[in-house]
C-alpha cells in the first residue's frame, strides 16, 4: 500500500530529530504501570521518522487520563475541555493546513461526551490523526463504567453490573466515513509504532483505537488476548493483500461463509490457504472492514492493524480550494465591499 509522501508540516530537509527532542520538561504524572506510557513512548519514537519540525506539531486533547498527553510533548499542545478536542483541532487545521495535528482522546472523552464531534470529524475527513486510548473505564474520575465497558461490568457506578451494551469505536469510525481506521494495543509496541506511523502518513482523517490497560481501575481488561502466551492465537494481524492467518502454528485462518466470517484450520476438512479471506484495506466499499470489526473474542481472534485506508479529498483542502476559486474570481477590496449594493449620496 503506497501512501502519499507529503505529510502535513513535514520538512523537505532532513532534520535528524531524536525521540528525546519530543520530550517536554513536564513530569509525567500517569500511574506507574499505566499503558499510556507505552503510547507516549511510541509516538515520540515515530515522530523523528516523519521529519516534522517540532513547531509544526500540535497535540490536542480533551479531558481524562489520556488527555494529559500534550503536556508531555515538546511541541505545541492544547489540553481542551471534555469531548471537544476534535472541534478545536478542526479550527487549528483549517486555520493552518500545514500543521500536523493530533487528537488524543479516550473512550469516555471521545465516544461519550464527545461522541458527536467524533462522528463529524470523521465524516469531514479532516487531515488529523485521532488516537483513542480505550481502557474501557473512567480512570480520572476513579472507576465508573465507560461506553466501551462490557455489558454486566461491575463498577462503582454499576454495582449490580452495567446494563448498557458497549459501543465499538471502529464501527462508529467506519459508519462515519473515516478514510483510515486501525486498531493496536499498548503492549505490542512494535505493532503500535508501525500503526501510528501509518496513520501519520495517511492524508485525511486517521483513526486508531488503542487498547490500553488501566492497571488501577480495570487491570487486565485485555489480558485474555494480549498475554504473550495467547497473543498469537487470540489476535489476528491484518496485512493488506494477504490471507487472514493467525495462531501460534500459523495454521488457523478466517474464511467467509456467505456473509459471515468463520474460523477454519488450514489442512483440516480440505481447507487451504486459498480458501481464506484476503485483506483489502483499500476497498472503497466498507463492508469488509465493518465485518472485521464484528469479530470479537472469544469466538474470533481480535483483528489488529489497518482495517481501512482509502483516499478522499480532505476538508481543509476543499475549503482552501473554494476560497481560491472565490479569490480568483476577484479578491474584492474592502472599499468595494462596503460600497456594494444600492447606494445614494447625501450632499
Amino acid at each position: 500500500m503506497t501512501e502519499p509522501l507529503k505529510i502535513a508540516g513535514a520538512s523537505d530537509m532532513p532534520l535528524n530529530l531524536q525521540r528525546t527532542d519530543f520530550i517536554s520538561d513536564q513530569e509525567v504524572r500517569w500511574c506507574p504501570g499505566c499503558g499510556d506510557y507505552s503510547i507516549l513512548f511510541q509516538v515520540q519514537s515515530v515522530l523523528p521518522k516523519l521529519n516534522i519540525p517540532r513547531e509544526n506539531l500540535v497535540f490536542v486533547s480533551g479531558i481524562g487520563c489520556s488527555s494529559r498527553f500534550p503536556y508531555y510533548m515538546n511541541t505545541y499542545g492544547f489540553h481542551t475541555i471534555h469531548g471537544r478536542a476534535p472541534t478545536i483541532a478542526t479550527g487549528i487545521k483549517v486555520a493552518n493546513p500545514d500543521l500536523s495535528v493530533w487528537v488524543i482522546t479516550g473512550d469516555g472523552d471521545g465516544l461519550s461526551i464527545g461522541g458527536n464531534h467524533f462522528i463529524h470529524v470523521m465524516r469531514r475527513n479532516l487531515d488529523v490523526n485521532v488516537l483513542l486510548f480505550n481502557n474501557r473505564i473512567y480512570g480520572l474520575t476513579k472507576g465508573q463504567y465507560s461506553p466501551t465497558s462490557e455489558f454486566g461490568k461491575k463498577t462503582k457506578s454499576s454495582p449490580m453490573g452495567s446494563i448498557e451494551r458497549p459501543i465499538n469505536p471502529l464501527c462508529v469510525a467506519i459508519a462515519s466515513e473515516a478514510t483510515f481506521v486501525a486498531r493496536s494495543i499498548d503492549v505490542d509496541t512494535k505493532h503500535l509504532a508501525a500503526t501510528i506511523e501509518r496513520a501519520a502518513r495517511h492524508k485525511g482523517v486517521a483513526f486508531i483505537e488503542i487498547y490500553q490497560n488501566c492497571n488501577i481501575f480495570n487491570d487486565g481488561a485485555y489480558k485474555p488476548i494480549s498475554d504473550k502466551e495467547v497473543r498469537a492465537d487470540n489476535m489476528l494481524y491484518l496485512e493488506h493483500g494477504k490471507p487472514m492467518i493467525f495462531g501460534k502454528d500459523r495454521n488457523k485462518g478466517i474464511r467467509l461463509n456467505g456473509i459471515k466470517p468463520e474460523v477454519v484450520t488450514i489442512g483440516e476438512n480440505g481447507v487451504t490457504v486459498d480458501d481464506l479471506l484476503i485483506h483489502d484495506e483499500s476497498a472503497e466499499d466498507p463492508t469488509l472492514a465493518y465485518l472485521l470489526t464484528q469479530m470479537n473474542f472469544p469466538n474470533f481472534p481480535v483483528p489488529m492493524g489497518v482495517f481501512r485506508s482509502v483516499s478522499k479529498p480532505t476538508f481543509e483542502d476543499l475549503m482552501a480550494q473554494q476560497i481560491e476559486v472565490a479569490t480568483a474570481r476577484g479578491r474584492c477590496n474592502l472599499e468595494e465591499l462596503l460600497n456594494s449594493g444600492d447606494t445614494w449620496v447625501v450632499e
Partner: protein, 617 residues
C-alpha cells in the same frame, strides 16, 4: 414624533408629511417581508431616513389564515432624522382577517387601513375569530377603511398570462405594494430592477410581478380611492454615501472589515439558529476575503473551532443566540483560561429556553457577564442600532486581539433584522487594529504579560522556538505551566479580572445626550437606543430636565459612568428584561436606580418610555 403623521383627507391633491409609518401584514406565506423590504429600499434610495421592524412568526408557514401565522413588516420613513420604526402605524395593509385582527390595535386612530376584501370570506373570518365581518359591521368606523378586491384585481391583471393560479395569486403582494407606492408618490423603477435581478431567468414570472405592481399603482392612481396623495421629502442626513443595512448585514461586514484591518484571516464557526443565521449566510458568501466559514455540528463545535482557529492565529468568531450561548459556556471559560482572541456574537431573542425565537429581548446580559463556572470575566460590547453593528464589530475584534480575551457582542433580534440608512465609512475613519504575533523565542514565556494591557503573547503553532502547551487547568503566572498552588490561583483570578478592568482605559467615555445634570437620567444599552433617545428628546422638548446615556461598552463600564450617574436626581435603567443592567449598576455604583422594563418580545415604544419617565418626574 415619527408616528404622529396626520394623514389628512383634504381638498389638496398632495400633502407634505414629515414622517410616516406603514405596516404590511398578511399570512406568513404572503410575502410581507419582501413587500416591506421593497418599500424600504425605495424610500432609502429617495433619500428618506428609514427604520424598520420586521415581525414574523417562528413557523415557516403557520396554518394559513390563522392568527399565529401573521407576518408583519413595519417601516418608518421620514424627512427628518429618525431612530425607531415608529410606535403606531399610520397606514396598515392587511392582506387577510387574521392580519387585521392582530395588527389593528396598533393602528393610529384615523389611520389608513387598506384590506384585501377577497380574503374576508366566512372561513377566514372564523379562523381569525371574527363573528361578523368587520368590513361591513361598522367596527372600523374610526379608521379610513379602503377595501380593495386585491386577489381578483391581481387575477384580472394577469388574465391573459399562461401561469398557474397559484403563481398568479402569489403576485398579489405586489398589487398591494403598487397601491402604497401610488399613495406616497413613489417610483416603481427600483422594484422593477429588483424583479429583473430576481426573476430574470423566469421571464413570465418577472412579467407577472411587473404587471401586478403597475396594476396596483394605476388602480390607486386612477380610481381616486385616495383623494389625497402624500409626499415625504428627503431627509437631511449628514453628507456622505449611504446604503440601507440591517444589523446582521452590518455585523458581517464589520467583522470582515475588522479582520482586514487586523491583517489576520477571519474564521467564523456557527450552527444555524434564529435570528443569527443571516450572519452565517453573509460570511459564507465572502470567501473572496479569505473568510473561513464553518457550519459546525453543534454550538459547542462552532466555538471550539473558533478557539482552535484563534490559537492558530486567526480572528476566532462564533455567532449564535441565547440558547446557543448556554452550550458554549464551558468553551468560553476555556478561552478565558487560555486567553485567546475569540468573539462571541449573541443575537439575543426572547427566552428562557427556546422562548420566542423570532422576537427581540435583552435578557442575556447577565449570562454574558456571569454565565460560566468560576471567576470568568470577559469583555462585553453591544451595538445600539443596525448600522452601529458595523462599528461595534470592529471594536469587538480590536479589544479581543489587543487584550487576548474573549469578547461578547450582544446584538438583538430587533436591530439584527431591522434596517436603517448607513453612512458608508471611509477606510481612514476606522480604528487601527495591530495584533502582534510573537516571533522571537528569546525569553519567551506563554503567560508573560504586556505591562499596559496585561495581554499574554499570541504565539501561534508553526512558529519555531515557541512550542508550548495551554489548556483549561489553572496556569502558573508567566510560565503557563499547570499549577494548583493556592496563592498562584488567587493571583491569577485577580489578574484575569484586572486585565478586563484595564480595557476601560482603551474605550471611549460614555456621553450624555441632553444636559449633563438634571432631574432624570435614563440609562440604556444595546438595541434600545433609538426608542430611549427619541423619548428623552421628546421629554426635553416638553420642558423636562431629562437626559440619557447609552452604553455600548458594558464590561468594563466606561470610566466616567459613575460620575455621570451622580449628577442626576434620579436614574432610570430602561431595558428589555427584568432589570439586569439595573442590578449591575446598583451593585457597582451604589446608585438607587429605578428599573424600566418590558419583556414582551417587542422593542420599547417611544410613547411608553415617555409615559414611564413622566411618572418618575
Amino acid at each position: 414624533m415619527s408616528s404622529t403623521a396626520i394623514l389628512g383627507n383634504t381638498e389638496e391633491r398632495v400633502q407634505e408629511l414629515t414622517s410616516v409609518t406603514i405596516r404590511f401584514a398578511g399570512d406568513s406565506g404572503d410575502g410581507m417581508q419582501l413587500t416591506g423590504t421593497q418599500f424600504t429600499n425605495t424610500a432609502a434610495l429617495l433619500g428618506n431616513d428609514i427604520s424598520t421592524l420586521p415581525d414574523f412568526p417562528a413557523e415557516i408557514r403557520a396554518p394559513q389564515g390563522s392568527l399565529p401565522g401573521v407576518s408583519g413588516f413595519q417601516v418608518n420613513f421620514s424627512s427628518v432624522d429618525i431612530r425607531t420604526p415608529g410606535d403606531e402605524p399610520d397606514v396598515l395593509v392587511a392582506m387577510n382577517p387574521a392580519a387585521l385582527k392582530v395588527n389593528l390595535p396598533d393602528l393610529h386612530e384615523g389611520g389608513i387601513l387598506i384590506v384585501n376584501e377577497n380574503e374576508f370570506t366566512k372561513a377566514n373570518l372564523e379562523k381569525a375569530g371574527y363573528t361578523s365581518n368587520p368590513l361591513t359591521d361598522d367596527s372600523l368606523a374610526g379608521y379610513r377603511l379602503i377595501a380593495i378586491p386585491i386577489t381578483d384585481l391581481t387575477y384580472n391583471a394577469l388574465a391573459d398570462m399562461n401561469l398557474t393560479k397559484r403563481n398568479k395569486e402569489r403576485c398579489k403582494n405586489f398589487f398591494a405594494l403598487g397601491i402604497v407606492f401610488a399613495l406616497f408618490d413613489r417610483p416603481l423603477e427600483p422594484t422593477y430592477r429588483w424583479i429583473e435581478q430576481k426573476f430574470g431567468a423566469k421571464p413570465d414570472i418577472a412579467e407577472a410581478n411587473r404587471r401586478t405592481l403597475k396594476a396596483g399603482f394605476d388602480y390607486a392612481d386612477t380610481t381616486e380611492i385616495f383623494t389625497t396623495h402624500y409626499r415625504v421629502r428627503k431627509a437631511n442626513l449628514p453628507p456622505g454615501k449611504y446604503r440601507k443595512i440591517t444589523g446582521n448585514e452590518a455585523t458581517a461586514l464589520g467583522f470582515v472589515t475588522a479582520a482586514e484591518l487586523a491583517g489576520r484571516p477571519l474564521f467564523y464557526g456557527s450552527y444555524p439558529i434564529t435570528p443569527a443565521s443571516d450572519i452565517l449566510h453573509e460570511l459564507s458568501r465572502l470567501k473572496n476575503f479569505g473568510v473561513k466559514s464553518f457550519q459546525a455540528e453543534d454550538e459547542i463545535a462552532a466555538i471550539g473551532a473558533a478557539i482552535g482557529a484563534a490559537f492558530a492565529g486567526h480572528i476566532g468568531l462564533t455567532g449564535t443566540s441565547g440558547p446557543g450561548v448556554c452550550l458554549k459556556s464551558e468553551a468560553i471559560g476555556l478561552a478565558v483560561m487560555t486567553e485567546l482572541p475569540v468573539v462571541i456574537i449573541n443575537v439575543q431573542r426572547g427566552g428562557p429556553s427556546t422562548g420566542l425565537p423570532t422576537k427581540t429581548e435583552q435578557a442575556d446580559l447577565l449570562q454574558a457577564f456571569y454565565g460560566r463556572n468560576g471567576e470568568c470575566p470577559v469583555a462585553v460590547v453591544a451595538p445600539s442600532s443596525p448600522s452601529d453593528c458595523f462599528k461595534m464589530a470592529v471594536e469587538a475584534v480590536r479589544l479581543a486581539v489587543t487584550f487576548m480575551t474573549p469578547v461578547f457582542y450582544l446584538s438583538d433580534g430587533y436591530i439584527a433584522n431591522g434596517a436603517e440608512p448607513w453612512r458608508i465609512p471611509q477606510l481612514s475613519e476606522l480604528p487601527a487594529i495591530r495584533p502582534v504575533l510573537r516571533q522571537d523565542p528569546t525569553g519567551f514565556l506563554p503567560y508573560e504579560r504586556d505591562e499596559q494591557t496585561l495581554a499574554r503573547p499570541w504565539a501561534v503553532p508553526g512558529t519555531p522556538g515557541l512550542e508550548h502547551r495551554i489548556g483549561g487547568l489553572e496556569k502558573q503566572h508567566r510560565t503557563g505551566n499547570v499549577s494548583y498552588d493556592p496563592a498562584n490561583h488567587d493571583f491569577m483570578v485577580r489578574l484575569r479580572a484586572e486585565k478586563i478592568a484595564r480595557i476601560a482605559n482603551f474605550i471611549p467615555d460614555a456621553t450624555v445626550e441632553g444636559d449633563p445634570e438634571g432631574d432624570l437620567l435614563v440609562v440604556g444599552w444595546g438595541g434600545t437606543y433609538g426608542a430611549i433617545a427619541t423619548a428623552t428628546e421628546e421629554l426635553r422638548r416638553q420642558g423636562y430636565r431629562v437626559s440619557n446615556v447609552h452604553l455600548r461598552y458594558l464590561s468594563p463600564f466606561p470610566r466616567n459612568l459613575g460620575d455621570l450617574l451622580r449628577r442626576f436626581k434620579r436614574v432610570a435603567v430602561a431595558e428589555l428584561n427584568l432589570g439586569q443592567l439595573d442590578l449591575l449598576i446598583r451593585g457597582k455604583f451604589l446608585v438607587d436606580t429605578v428599573s424600566i422594563n418590558k419583556v414582551a418580545g417587542k422593542p420599547f415604544k417611544v410613547s411608553e418610555l415617555v409615559a414611564r419617565c413622566k411618572a418618575l418626574l
